[in-house]
């Protein structure tokens, strides 16, 4: 499939069975993530933005429609192939940081590389570089519970970058951080975008989206309400 889209959701729906009811979390959603873009998926809680983030990150499977990751329809991938591609192409940053509590900062950053079968020396050098990049060179052997929220989120960023993925997918990356620390984290993401990485953030915060993103998908009641793109500093509605 010849495309400039890293990730594409085509007519995607996600339903949950709740007893006798069917909850339509997402219905007929189309999202195209272009290489190098900075995309914000925005919407209030319950809008379906978290569901779309899980689908974009191939952490979940759609009820209907197709999801393409780097041109592959993920429905037809073996579980192990999908894990392999996911680990290589997407770096995750979670609101809850989701570091492994029993591993040090450095070991956490090394872990995604282990799953890509990089050898030990290479993993260690790369992890140290990345932790330097997020200004945590003095905290490499600390465990997550010995780090502040901002520091943990920076470890998570370093971990997301471990396999040099094309896409960074961040779910409310500043949600658990104070304003200042949140700014620092967002600056990192901007810098990574300038260096060519595709960034996707999921947020409920319109200001955050408007300040940093280039494309904003507004989600409401399981549908895409609008798509806006920034052109020469102005927001232009596409849909």
């Amino acid at each position: 499939m010849e495309t400039n889209n890293v990730i594409e959701l085509k007519n995607v729906a996600k339903y949950y069975e709740m007893g006798d009811d069917t909850v339509r979390a997402l219905d007929d959603v189309n999202i195209e993530i272009k290489r190098g873009d900075f995309v914000a998926i925005m919407g209030p809680s319950g809008s379906g933005k978290s569901t779309s983030m899980n689908l974009i990150g191939s952490l979940d499977l759609a009820t209907k429609g197709n999801i393409y990751l780097d041109g592959h329809d993920i429905e037809y991938l073996e579980e192990s192939e999908l894990a392999q591609i996911r680990g290589k192409k997407i770096g995750f940053i979670f609101q809850q940081f989701n570091l492994i509590p029993n591993l040090t900062a450095k070991e956490n950053v090394m872990l995604p590389m282990l799953f890509q079968e990089k050898d030990g020396a290479e993993r260690e050098i790369r992890a140290e570089e990345l932790l330097k990049l997020v200004e945590l060179e003095g905290r490499m052997n600390h465990y997550p519970n010995q780090l502040s929220g901002g520091q943990q989120q920076r470890v998570a960023i370093a971990r997301a970058l471990a396999n040099d993925p094309e896409v960074i997918l961040a779910d409310e990356p500043t949600g658990n951080l104070d304003t200042h620390t949140g700014e620092v984290v967002m600056k990192f993401l901007n810098k990574l975008n300038e260096e060519g990485k595709t960034i996707i953030i999921v947020t409920h915060n319109p200001e955050l989206a408007k300040e940093h993103a280039k494309t904003i998908y507004s989600v409401r009641d399981g549908k895409i309400e609008s798509v806006e793109k920034r052109v020469n500093g102005k927001w232009i509605k596409h849909r």
Binding site: L59, D60, F92, N102, E107, F115
Partner: protein, 405 residues
């Protein structure tokens, strides 16, 4: 690459610290119970067997019909006598005939009075050999064994010398037997048989004089020259005695006990003991196994989210399973080893207390390597499987569902 997972798992265990130890605790309590109970059960079986082992396969015992409770032969209405020995002696295949006296005896020492069993040391050298052989050639703990030429001397069983009286009796001490003064030549070492520990051994002549015993014996022990023919010799002896006493088959007023006969009764007891021991082992294995499975299962289950995180950063199911198999296998192994050591300690401790309480080495426990290795392997395998099950389930979840836990 496998080594990396091993290092990762080991680091995980180390950092989880107290949680790991709690899981190991769950494993080793189970294994300690298994090892201790089975070891003690085996000891119990050996103790029961030991009480009956004084009858060896090449010895027969002839008794007259008895009236009641007491030492074997001592309550017979008509006693065995020299004439019976002559009759028995006609049978071929007999190596030695050792007539025995066994009597309840009053023994006084240090102003205390107690009762125990006196037995006669035969006068003939060959018979003496059979006598000590029946006691497994026991040695003395202090003093010396009784000689046939000794007069007014006795040798005491371990229990009589050490435990019967407030004060221990030592070699050289004097005691009153049925009111008459005897010098203690020696005390026997501790035996596995309660009977042996309660013996008072004296020379035949002394015993007959002391107790005014004429031509009578409480039992006659026959040493067969070849244990293959023990049953045949027993049949022949029965035949001769019946002929001599003019009795019909089935109406004898005597009995010839072969080891098989006496042991067939014992076998029922042993079968029961064996069944109980096997039952204890089975129950403790089930309880131990369930404890291990339970702790391991919970410890993996509570880490479902971690599995979700690992999946989202690119772990394949296979790799997640590696990590958890190594972890739970290690926990099982460590718990198994600690449990085995603890269980052995427990078994030895309990047998020590029992032996102290009985004053003789009645419950002997031994290290059984196949039990130890087997229970460690058991802990390892159960640990592995019960860690594998929840991690397999968790790895099958979609990452989003695992993350939500």
């Amino acid at each position: 690459m496998k080594k990396d997972y091993f290092v990762l798992a080991l680091g995980n265990l180390k950092h989880r610290g107290i949680r790991s130890w709690l899981t190991i605790l769950g494993v080793f309590i189970g294994i300690a119970a298994v090892v201790a109970l089975i070891t003690l059960g085996n000891g119990l079986r050996d103790a029961v067997t030991g009480q009956f082992s004084s009858l060896s396969a090449d010895k027969l015992v002839i008794l007259n019909a008895e009236t009641g409770m007491g030492p074997p032969g001592s309550t017979a209405i008509t006693k065995l006598n020299e004439h019976d020995i002559e009759v028995i002696n006609k049978v071929k295949g007999i190596e030695e005939i050792v007539p025995r006296l066994i009597r309840i005896t009053k023994i006084e020492f240090n102003k205390e009075t107690e009762f125990s069993y006196s037995v006669n040391l035969p006068e003939d050298k060959n018979k003496v050999e059979v006598f000590w052989g029946a006691l497994n050639n026991i040695k003395t703990e202090s003093g010396r064994l009784l000689k046939t030429e000794d007069r007014n001397k006795i040798v005491l069983g371990f229990g009589v010398a050490k435990n019967l009286f407030d004060k221990e009796i030592e070699a050289g001490d004097n005691v009153l037997i049925n009111g008459k003064n005897f010098e203690v030549a020696g005390a026997l070492e501790k035996s596995g048989s309660i009977q042996t520990n309660h013996l008072i051994i004296m020379n035949e002549k002394d015993m007959k004089e002391l107790m005014n015993i004429g031509d009578e014996w409480d039992m006659i022990v026959v040493q067969v020259s070849d244990s293959k023919y023990t049953e045949t010799v027993a049949e022949k002896i029965k035949e001769e005695l019946r002929k001599d006493r003019k009795e019909d088959i089935g109406k004898e007023d005597f009995s010839v006990q072969t080891p098989l006969q006496s042991i067939s009764g014992v076998n029922v007891i042993l079968d029961i003991v064996n069944l109980i021991v096997a039952g204890i082992a089975a129950i403790s294995l089930i309880i131990g196994g369930m404890g291990i499975a339970n702790t391991m299962y919970t410890s993996v289950l509570e880490r479902t989210k971690e599995i979700g995180i690992m999946k989202s950063i690119g772990a394949k199911n296979k790799e997640i399973l590696y990590i958890f198999i190594i972890e739970s296998g290690l926990l099982g192994l460590i718990g198994g080893i600690i449990g085995a050591v603890l269980g052995i300690g427990l078994a030895f401790g309990i047998s020590g207390i029992v032996n102290l309480a009985f004053g003789s080495e009645i419950l002997k426990v031994t290290l059984e390597y196949h039990l130890i290795l087997g229970s460690i392997a058991f802990a390892f395998v159960i640990g592995l499987l019960s860690g594998l099950m929840p991690s397999f389930q968790a790895s099958k979840l979609k990452p989003v569902d695992a993350l939500r836990k």
